[in-house]
């Protein structure tokens, strides 16, 4: 698939000398959902702000739809919708007017039908004449999305769309994102909820300290880096791991009633068959077996720790 957003060796240093982006390279494919994971201060918002034109880069280049964001900013900004992290809205304006304002600002002629359609899609139809200040936090966030979609962008940046949003609303937001993807919009979202990336992203990028640590297909990433654990429950507690099983690097639970074996699903041999045979030979009676796949969260924490 062709890249719709292409970031090359992007650098951003602030006047104080702090370098928020240290040579970021990123290719975003048309139609995908890319989740950018990273801890606070990793450079997620700076990266988004720079692509959208709010922040000026100190080095490197960005193209959107083949246009350069600095020399051809009208063309690139026309393609982009941005949902900021903070709820930045004019409190005294009505929902419809504020969304319509965004459309005009992006150089599109007034189109009330289109605005009404977006508001309906975001379940804001019955609130269109309400003032922003009368809305709940979740609704305000949806107003921000409506504003970002008002000019029919092809790329949508969502900067932590579900920060501080309750579980139910977060699921609603995921549904909205899925609908947008179905409509052909490319979506880049930043989050520090791993669960979110796991649930909706096609690809996951991990950013920390102003650098992209990896960008990979979500399922590929999980299977590649994923380790599985086999938990073996025993009928009787063992004081220590029997010497015959020393070669397996088993972790004994504190109560001695279970042993945990960690293995790589990509390895040629997982070693499970021989382990189970050896366990039986050592005279241990197994009463239950359970396997656990490591989550994106474990992978993420591991990666960030490595680069810290």
């Amino acid at each position: 698939m062709p890249s719709i957003v292409s970031v090359k060796n992007l650098r951003k240093a602030y006047p104080g000398g702090f370098e928020a982006l240290k040579g970021v390279n990123l290719e975003i494919e048309e139609g995908e959902i890319l989740a950018l994971l990273g801890p606070n201060g990793a450079g997620k918002t700076t990266l988004i702000s720079t692509v959208c034109g709010i922040t000026v880069p100190t080095g490197g280049s960005i193209t959107v739809g083949g246009f350069d964001t600095l020399t051809n900013y009208r063309a690139t900004r026309d393609l982009i919708g941005l949902v900021p992290q903070e709820i930045n809205l004019e409190p005294f304006e009505t929902v419809f007017n504020t969304v319509s304002f965004s459309r005009g600002l992006f150089g599109k002629p007034r189109n009330d039908d289109y605005i009404n359609r977006i508001l309906d899609q975001l379940s804001l139809g019955d609130k269109k004449d309400s003032k922003i200040m009368a809305l709940s936090g979740g609704m305000k966030r949806r107003v921000l999305i409506a504003k970002a979609l008002s000019h029919e962008p092809r790329v949508l940046f969502l900067d932590e769309p579900t920060a501080g949003v309750d579980v139910e609303l977060r699921k609603d937001m995921w549904d909205v994102v899925a609908e947008l993807k179905a409509a052909g919009v490319t979506i880049i979202l930043t989050t520090h909820y791993i669960e979110e990336a796991e649930a909706i992203a096609d690809r996951v990028g991990v950013i920390n300290g102003g650098q992209i640590l990896l960008v990979q297909d979500k399922t590929e990433l999980m299977s590649q880096m994923g380790q599985k654990q086999l938990q073996i429950s025993l009928s009787e507690a063992v004081a220590e791991v029997p010497a015959a099983l020393a070669g397996y690097e088993l972790d004994r639970a504190d109560d001695g009633l279970s042993l945990t074996y960690t293995y790589d699903t990509n390895g040629e041999r997982t070693g499970i068959t021989t382990l189970l045979n050896d366990l039986a030979a050592a005279g241990l009676t197994m009463i239950d077996l359970q396997t656990k796949q490591s989550s994106l969260e474990d992978i993420f924490v591991g990666l960030v720790k490595e680069t810290a």
């Binding site: 602030y14 959208c52 034109g53 709010i54 922040t55 000026v56 900013y73 009208r74 063309a75 900004r77 026309d78 982009i80 941005l82 900021p84 903070e86 930045n88 809205l89 004019e90 409190p91 005294f92 007017n97 304002f101 965004s102 459309r103 005009g104 600002l105 992006f106 150089g107 599109k108 002629p109 504003k147």
Partner: protein
């Protein structure tokens, strides 16, 4: 040219003005009436004619200028400061607009509002004094240029200001004194010698003098000097705004 963006900003700013229409209209009418009662009727009756014009009529151009300059500055500064304050400026910075379009929208609306108030005061003045406008076209031209240049100044203040206090600071500490000392209520020729010289460094003197010339055909300074002064002031404000957007000063990191 993103003409839709200019229209959108302009309309949205004008809507804010019309939302508070009573306040926008009544306050200049009341304050102007008070000025006429106090300066025109009460004190003015004891003041002889100034340069052949009755005192009540003489203060009309100064009064209009006083309101127009302060209104243009505060409207424009608030217009661009408010999105900074609420955070909605992100949208302006990520939209396909250039500095000229943003300035046209915000400054155009602020200048229109100031013009509106200037006209209201002029109409109010007709109820209190006999007025004959000697050069109507020049009067309108001066009014438009003053509204425009002080809206540009207000726009700069709005971008510079980091809080509401700073937003009020320049109008309060600089513009109001300059306007009062710029001959709103008197002719600069009435000042003692040294103060006449000092007054010539006050840019507002040239604007009020030119505006007064348009009304009565008399002026403290030559009309061409007044025109040059207002052109210079407008040019300087435009240059500063161009520099602001070029460097991203206080708005784009």
């Amino acid at each position: 040219m993103n003409i839709y963006a200019v229209q959108t900003i302009y309309r949205s700013e004008m809507k804010r003005f019309f939302r508070t229409i009573m306040q926008s209209l009544i306050s200049p009418v009341i304050s102007t009436s008070l000025y006429f009662i106090v300066f025109g009727a009460a004190i003015g009756s004891r003041i002889q004619e100034v340069e052949g014009v009755s005192y009540g009529a003489f203060i009309v151009p100064g009064l209009i200028m006083l309101s127009v300059m302060t209104q243009a500055t505060s409207n424009a500064s608030f217009g661009i400061y408010f999105p900074k304050f609420t955070g909605t400026i992100y949208e302006l910075l990520s939209a396909p607009v250039n500095f000229l379009e943003i300035v046209l929208g915000y400054v155009g609306a602020a200048a229109t509002k100031a013009m509106f108030i200037g006209v209201i005061i002029l109409i109010t003045a007709f109820f209190f004094v006999d007025l004959n406008i000697a050069h109507p076209i020049a009067m309108v031209a001066f009014l438009v240029m003053t509204c425009l240049s002080f809206s540009l100044l207000g726009f700069i203040i709005g971008i510079w200001a980091g809080n509401f206090e700073q937003l009020q600071l320049i109008p309060l500490l600089v513009i109001t004194p300059l306007v009062f000392l710029g001959g709103s209520f008197y002719s600069v020729s009435m000042l003692p010698g040294i103060w006449q010289t000092i007054a010539m460094f006050n840019p507002v003197v040239y604007l009020i003098s030119g505006f007064r010339w348009a009304f009565f055909g008399v002026a403290d300074v030559d009309i061409t000097v007044s025109l040059a002064a207002i052109a210079l002031f407008t040019g300087a404000c435009l240059a500063v705004i161009w520099w602001i957007f070029r460097t991203g000063w206080r708005i784009r990191q």
